[in-house]
Each structure stands twice: as C-alpha cells, then as structure tokens.
C-alpha cells in the first residue's frame, strides 16, 4: 500500500453546510413591513420589527408556505405541528433581545440532496427572522470606527435555515451542494439565491479526521463566503490549515472563522468555547402552528419544475446535449426563455446556440440581464426561422441581434427597415459578380493561374457590394461558374 510507505497521515475532510435563504415574501415574517432591498436605512420598519414595548408578532403564512415548498423539494418531512422559539442574546442589531426562530420542532426535517452520486442528508430546515445590520462609522471598517449605526430594514425578514448533516467529503462537493440548493430555491421562486447581496448565506462546518476514523475532528465554522467559488476556496484553505496544525502536533480550536477573499485566508472571529447560552424557550406570543396534510398536498401540487426535472426534459424532449441542457438549467432565465421560444420554432439546437453563444456574450459585454432587455422568445424564434428558411443569412442575423435585443422590434421588421432581406435573385447577383471580376482583373488572372485561395476574396467582395444581403450559396455557385470563364 502506497500510504504505508510514508509516515504522513491521510485525512478525510468532513463538511456540513448551514445555508440561510432569504424568502422572497412581500412582507416580513412577523409584521407588515416591506422586504424590499436597497431602500433608505430604517425605512422598512414599524413598531413591531423595531421591538417597541407592547408589540406582538403575527406569523406570515406565505413564509410558511415557502418553507414547506422548499422542504418538499429537498425531500424533507413536513412537521404536523411546528412552533416558534426565542433565541436570546444581546446585540444592537437584534431589536427584541431575542430572535424568533425554531428550536425543537422545525417546519421541515430529514431530507436529502444527491450530489456527485451521493446522498447528502439534510437534518432540518427552520424558519426564523433575520437581524438588522450594523454600519460602523468613523473609519473604513470595524477597526478604528468610533461608533456604529443600526439599520433595521432587514430585521424581521424571513429566512429558512437549511442545515445539512456532515456528509460532504470534499470542497467541490460542498460547492456543488450549495449551487444545487441555490438552483432549487430559485426554481421554486422562494429566494433570489444571491450570495453577493446576501439573500443566500452559506456557512461551512469543516473538520478533518484520519481516514477510516469513526469520530469527528474538532470543527471550525467558516463565514463570509460571497461566491460559490469562495466556498470551495475557503474550505480548501481551512483543510490545509487544519492539516498543518494537526501534523505539527497542535490542535484545532472550535471557533468561527471569517473568510477573507482578498488574502485567500481565514481568520478567527471569536471562540465558540465561550459561546452564548441562547436560553431557547417557546415564544408565548405565538401559538403552535398546525400544518394539515391537505395544506402540504396543495403546496406539493403547485410545485414548479425543479432543476433536475428540467435537465432531463430538455434532453428527452428537445434532444439537447447534456452540456447544453445543463447550461440552460444553471441559468434559469435562459432555460425559461428557451421554453417559451420553442413554442414558435422547432430548431432547438439553433435556438440553444444563439442563447448560449451570441446572446450570452452580448449580455456579458453590456453587463445586462436577459430580463432587463426587450428581447422576446418569439422574436428570437422568428429570427431562427428566417435563417433556416434562407430569408436572412447568419451574418445578417448577427447584425440585427443588438437591435433585436434592445428595441424589441420583430426580426422581419428589422431586416425590412434596414434593407437586409436576403437577395437570391440570380440576375442581380450575377451582375454584381461580373462587376467584381471586372474591377479585380489582376486577382482574376492570378486565380485562373492556380491561386484558388483567392476564391474567398471574390465572394467577400460580392457580399460587401451587396451589404451582406446576397445569398452566399448563390454567390458561391455563380462566382465559381463565372471564374471558370
């Protein structure tokens, strides 16, 4: 055995993820305040989410439905009776001095996701309210700041915390788990799944243990990963750090560590060993919530298509390659767009190529999202049809694409307006070809003496003279005949 030759211990990585997804409800979890992002500080607040004396929480049923919907998609059991508990600690961004969360009866329990052919068990998914945000003032960051300002717009926004079992064994698997989860909640329409804006937050519990060991090593909790890539990088860094510690005879301290994207390292936040006693107890302001099987069934019936289902359908129904299908699944807007466009054309492959190629490139170059443009699935499908029926060439299609995207004008109108309809009139094209031959006598001579590579030059000249409208097939055929002389 190779391992036996070295004294180096082989380690196994053990990862569990805690993912907070912000539920896309119109209003907060326990009051009627808006959840809109990016408004003026403390605009989305009321006495209830400010924790004023004398206020009471009223549960947002939509948030519960979203929680159940997500739980069903994650193969979870849904509780028949769920309840809310107070998690108590003092912090200036926590108005009541406690967070309303769920302790021992979460709304969803015991689910799983399949990642890289392995079942990753989900322990629970529970509802809770978000805290506010501190803005440190008087300096660039927390360090050196003279005071802090409290913004409570986010306080009370509903979150679903999805807790996995420590079943993942590599950073790649953890990243894929997070990406899969993101896709699912986006497909369900319950969360934006935006790591940068914080509508989805991933914390990773990471430990290592000698390969074959049954007991877990001491874990650290990694926070502040703002992209899927950084989840993987942070775990890789942490595994290396822990390996080095243990190999050098030191021990891993159980603590929270903050990922620093700039330096590519993690740093200790505070020791969990002096952790809070949260003094959970059932919130007496909220009665336990009974969830009827009929309610769950109604939600199940209304469940939209999930990513895995779309992946299979795109391949089976439209014959797309696994790769193409996976791109359309990954970028949900593209997939949705595709599904609408196929109502108007059966050239699935061409449609996919346009979406994944020129359109994606255009959006990227112009820093736009598909939904911010005026491109409609029908217009794209029409353009694909026009190319297929030789009404326009691919080159012309590429030419009109920006206008198709920006103006929303139908492709047939666009080519008409611009005079770009493909010309297949042989007598007209022949005229142009002859003129090109007359004007380029030297090249003609060279061609006829064997420089056949020049053929492309003649075609190019014709296309140029016709502003691209000449049917390339016709040009090719006629030019070849004329050059033969």
């Amino acid at each position: 055995m190779a391992g036996a030759l070295t004294t180096q211990t082989q380690y196994e990585t053990v990862i569990g993820l805690e993912v907070h997804v912000q539920l896309k409800t119109q209003t907060k979890l326990f009051c009627a305040c808006s959840t809109q992002f990016g408004v003026e500080q403390n605009q989305n607040t009321c006495p209830i989410c400010l924790g004023m004396p004398g206020v009471l929480p009223v549960l947002n049923r939509q948030a519960v439905e979203y929680g159940i919907l997500a739980g069903l998609a994650l193969n979870c059991g849904i509780a028949l009776i769920t309840k809310f508990d107070r998690k108590q600690y003092f912090y200036p961004d926590l108005p009541k001095g406690y967070q309303i969360s769920q302790y021992d009866l979460p709304v969803c329990h015991d689910g799983y996701l399949e990642i890289m052919g392995q079942k990753i068990r989900i322990l629970r998914a529970h509802l809770e309210e978000d805290a506010g945000k501190l803005v440190h003032a008087g300096a660039a960051g927390l360090a050196g700041s003279t005071h802090s300002l409290v913004d409570l717009n986010r306080a009370g926004v509903p979150l679903l915390e999805i807790v996995s079992q420590p079943d993942m064994r590599s950073s790649e698997q953890a990243r894929l788990y997070a990406e899969t989860l993101r896709n699912i909640v986006r497909y369900l329409g319950v969360c934006d799944g935006n790591l940068e804006e914080g509508s989805m937050r991933v914390e990773a519990n990471v430990s290592i243990r000698p390969l074959g060991s049954e007991t877990y090593g001491t874990k650290t909790e990694l926070k502040n990963m703002n992209s899927f890539r950084s989840i993987q990088k942070a775990i890789d860094y942490e595994v290396a750090r822990q390996t080095e510690l243990i190999d050098s005879g030191e021990r891993v301290i159980q603590e929270s560590r903050l990922w620093n994207e700039a330096t590519g390292t993690t740093a200790s936040m505070r020791s969990k060993e002096e952790a809070h006693d949260y003094r959970y107890f059932p919130d007496p302001d909220l009665r336990p919530l009974e969830i009827s099987p009929e309610w769950v069934e109604r939600i199940r019936q209304a469940m939209p298509e999930l990513p895995l289902q779309r992946l299979n359908r795109l391949q089976e129904e439209f014959g797309l390659s696994e790769y193409d299908a996976s791109v359309l699944v990954e970028l949900k807007e593209l997939g949705d767009f595709f599904d609408e466009a196929v109502e108007h054309t059966s050239h699935y492959k061409a449609l996919t190529n346009w979406l994944m190629g020129d359109i994606t490139a255009y959006l990227k170059n112009n820093h736009k999202n598909l939904e911010d443009t005026r491109l409609t699935p029908k217009n794209l499908a029409l353009m694909v049809q026009m190319v297929d029926s030789n009404q326009i060439s691919s080159a012309i299609a590429k030419k009109i694409l920006p206008d198709l995207i920006e103006t929303g004008t139908a492709p047939d109108m666009l080519v008409k307006e611009k005079g770009l309809i493909q010309n297949s009139d042989e007598s007209q094209i022949q005229q142009i070809c002859q003129q090109v031959i007359v004007e380029n006598a030297e090249e003609v001579a060279a061609f006829r003496s064997g420089k056949e590579k020049l053929f492309g030059f003649f075609v190019g000249q014709v296309m140029k003279a016709s502003r691209g409208t000449a049917n390339p097939e016709v040009v090719n055929r006629l030019m070849r005949e004329l050059l033969k002389g």
């Binding site: 004398g54 206020v55 009471l56 009541k96 959970y280």
Partner: protein, 492 residues
C-alpha cells in the same frame, strides 16, 4: 369625592345619552375630583386632559346631532400606565421608560376611542406590573383610599385606587397573577380577569406573555360587564387572542337568577394563612349563595400548592425575555453612551430597572439557562398543566368555584416590601387562575374589623364570563355591597 360616582358608570352614561348631563360637565367634575383627591392618593402618573376633552366634545357633538351613543360613551376612564395611548408617555412606572412616548394605540385603547370613552390619565403600577402593592413604582407610592397608610394592592394599584376613591368610574389594569383582582379586593372595587385571549394584548407592555390579560375595574358588576363588552374581541394583531368566540351580550344575562348553580369552594384556599375576618366573610358569602338557591360544596384542587413556585418560574422566565429589549439602543433611557456597548448595556439596565424587576430578570434568566431548563422551566410547565387539569376536573362537578381573592386585607405600606417571598404569597389565591387561563372576578364581600374591604373571588371555566358576572351580580344585589367609596375621603 365625585358625587356622580355614587351611581356608577352605566347610569352616568345613560344620563349623558338622555342629555341630562354633558360629557364636558362630567369631565370637569372628574378632573376637579382628581385635583382634590389625588395629591393624597397618588393614583395617577399623568393626566391626559387634552385627549379626554377632545373625546368629551365628540360625545356632546353626537348628542346634539341626535345620535345614539356607543356603550359607555362619555364615562371617564383611567388607564394603567403599561397600556399605550398614542402620543402619551407609557412609563410602566419604570425609570427606563420614564420618557417613552407611545407611538401607537393599544387595541383596547382603539376600542375606547370608538366608544368615545375619555381616558383621563395613566395610573401608577408596580414597575412593569411586577408586585402586589404598587410600592415597586419608580415614581410614587399609591395609597389605599380606605386607609392612606396602607397599600392599594398591586400591580394595578393606581387603577384600583382611582375607582375606589371615586376619581374615575372605571379603569383598566392588567392581571398576570392577580394584579387586578387583588387590588380590587384590597380597595373594595370589582375586578374581572377575563379568559386568556378574550381581550387583545396588543399595546399592553408585556410582563409575562402567557399570563397577562388586560382587565377592568369598576364599582359594581354591571359596569364591569359593560367595560368587558367594550374591550373584548378577537384581534388580528394578537396571535393569542381567541378567534371564533361567538359575540356575547354580557349585560343581558346579569339579572337572571342563579338557582341551582353549583358552586365549589376551594378547600385549599380556606385553610392556612387566611386572616380570620377574611375567612369569616368568605364563609358568610357561601351562605349568601346558598340563600340565592346555589348549591355550595367543598372541592379540592391538590396541585394548587405548587402554583406559586410554578408561577414564579414561568412568569420570570417570560419577563427576563420580554424585558431584554430595554437595552438603551433604540428608545428609553441610555446611560454611559460614550463607553463601549457592554458598558452602555450594563449601566442602562442596572440603573433603569428597580430591584424587583432585576430580581425577576435574574430568576428567569437562571431558570432558562442551559442545564437548568428542564429542572425549572420544563417542570413548571408540567405543573401548570396539572393545575389546569385540577380546574377542569373541578368544573366537571361545579359551575363556578369560590374562594378569597387575597388571604389578607390591605397591609401597611412598607410592611412586606423587605420580604419578597412574603409578598409573593399574597397572590396564592389569584395565581392559579392565570396559570389555567380561565376567568375570575373579585367582588366586595364585607369589611374586616378595621373597616378594610374584603374581596370574594369567583372562578369560572374557559369563557364563562357571562355566568361569572351573573353570579357576581346576584351576590351584589343580595348584599348591596356595591359602589363602595370610603366616606372619610369626602372631607379631604
């Protein structure tokens, strides 16, 4: 004393409706009485004249326009200073909220507004409703109108004293472990704690959320029924308020006879610790009920002896959590603001809260702590269930239960304030009712040798307010113990 108060709130309301008295006159009279009496009694933390006069003007305008007034319109009411009236301070008699102005109305306050009931002021209480004598107020010591050297009971001592002294006709308090019934007993007024959830808690500053209930005081049973009629009802803003309760007319059934009513007297509450005069008055009350045709028999609730222990774990646990929000960050007083956050928290809470509040926060924090939860909070919840079951069993046999409201009549100011446990024991008869979430009423049933009023407590099953009021009304008619006000005050 206000002469109008001899007739009671409903009678006054009817005279306003009939045009015999204007709401403005009534209010002038009320404030004149308050000015005369309250320097002695100290029932009020503040007066709300602007609000009251505005409401009275509305009433008089409605009368001029020939409109039919809503129930109790024009009758001055005093509001415990832990219930919000928008734009007016809600201090909870605590330094930490000394300058806190309520940004919204409590649901009950909105109902008072709809009924054009003028709120004349906010009344004193034990800080955050924690106490049985109103001595724990950070601002003043309210006196018992029957003997100014004695406490009015608590925590709603201000609201009880305001009604007992005839300063207002009706008032609202909050009852968490007896905070309305006990001061009603000690002040010779009527106090009703409704079924948990019958009256919205929205806008009542929470002490112990699973026990708190806004509760009325009045000088007679009919007036109590009228106030309950006004303040009860489901509230979408309070998830614990009872939905689907059929609308009740609490006034309609008051005069019905109670012949054949089965009344159980709770043996545990008539045993040790009861003042002899109180015991005699309760026994006499039992005879009165028999004379009214009720069957009175003993009943035992064996788990009542665990009620105080259970209560002081549950109530303090909830209080420790409910009072965490007073951290100096968003509102209320803030001390050591120039120091770091921990110093600010510590100073604000150390100096903002009084001793009893701090004692309860510490007790509650301890009993919820990791490793102690099951032994304390978990067990207390189980005991609470046992007590609830005791009541259920008793109500299988009886329509109502009977006992004293308080083991003693009003005690001297300072007499018990150095011994918290002694003070806690004065709630022995009232606490079990809150734990079970059921309704109970305290009505005057006599006086002790020092002419201090004695309270009789009637307890009913879930949502039995109509029967409770009916029985209380029958007792009151028979004994004529109503609209009691100390005559000595007239000469003040």
């Amino acid at each position: 004393m206000n002469e109008q108060s001899q007739e009671g709130a409903l009678a006054l309301h009817q005279r306003i409706q009939a045009g015999e008295l204007s709401a403005l006159e009534v209010l002038d009279n009320t404030f004149a009485t308050i000015e005369k009496l309250d320097p002695q009694i100290e029932a009020f933390n503040c007066l709300t004249k602007d609000f009251a006069y505005k409401t009275a003007e509305e009433v008089d305008k409605a009368i001029k326009a020939g409109q039919r007034l809503p129930l109790l319109a024009g009758v001055p009411l005093a509001l415990k200073d832990n219930i919000h009236l928008k734009g007016v301070k809600t201090t909870c008699s605590s330094k930490i909220l000394e300058n806190y102005v309520a940004p919204f109305n409590a649901t009950v306050t909105n109902k008072l507004c709809e009924h054009m009931i003028p709120v004349v002021g906010k009344t004193n209480l034990d800080e955050f409703a924690m106490g049985s004598s109103t001595e724990n107020s950070a601002f003043r010591k309210t006196k018992n109108p029957w003997d100014l050297s004695r406490v009015p009971g608590g925590s709603s001592g201000g609201s009880a004293a305001a009604v007992a002294s005839g300063q207002t006709f009706i008032s609202l308090g909050s009852d968490t472990g007896g905070s309305v019934r006990q001061p009603a007993a000690l002040c010779g007024t009527v106090g009703l704690k409704p079924t948990y959830g019958l009256v919205s808690r929205y806008g009542l500053v929470a002490f112990a959320s699973s026990l708190d209930q806004i509760s009325p005081f009045a000088s007679n049973v009919q007036d109590i029924a009228a106030v309950l009629q006004v303040i009860s009802g489901a509230d979408p803003l309070d998830s614990t308020s009872l939905q689907n309760v059929p609308p009740m007319d609490y006034l309609a059934s008051l005069d019905k006879p109670i012949e054949g009513l089965k009344v159980g007297y709770i043996t545990e509450l008539l045993e040790a610790g009861l003042q002899p005069d109180t015991k005699a008055a309760i026994e006499s009350a039992m005879k009165t009920f028999e004379s009214l045709g009720a069957k009175v028999e003993p009943v035992s609730l064996p788990n009542l002896r665990y009620a105080i222990a259970s209560y002081y774990i549950i109530a303090t646990a909830e209080a420790s959590s409910n009072l965490a929000r007073y951290d100096g960050v968003r509102y209320g007083s803030r001390l050591n603001a120039d120091k770091d956050i921990l110093q600010m928290y510590l100073s604000t809470r150390a100096q903002g809260f009084g001793d009893e509040v701090k004692r309860r926060i510490m007790l509650g924090t301890f009993s919820l702590s990791s490793g102690y939860y099951e032994a304390y909070y978990g067990k207390a919840q189980k005991v609470r269930q046992l007590i609830t079951n005791d009541f259920k069993n008793a109500f299988n046999q009886f329509d109502l239960l009977l006992g004293p409201t308080s083991p003693t009549t009003a005690f001297k100011i300072g007499e018990k304030s150095s011994d918290p446990v002694e003070m806690y024991l004065s709630d022995i008869a009232t606490i079990p009712v809150n734990l079970a979430g059921i309704p109970a009423i305290s009505i005057p049933c006599g006086f002790d040798q020092q002419h201090l009023p004695i309270g009789l407590q009637l307890i009913g099953p879930h949502l039995s307010e109509a029967v409770l009021l009916q029985a209380a009304s029958a007792f009151e008619s028979k004994t004529s113990l109503k609209n009691l006000h100390p005559q000595t005050l007239a000469s003040v």
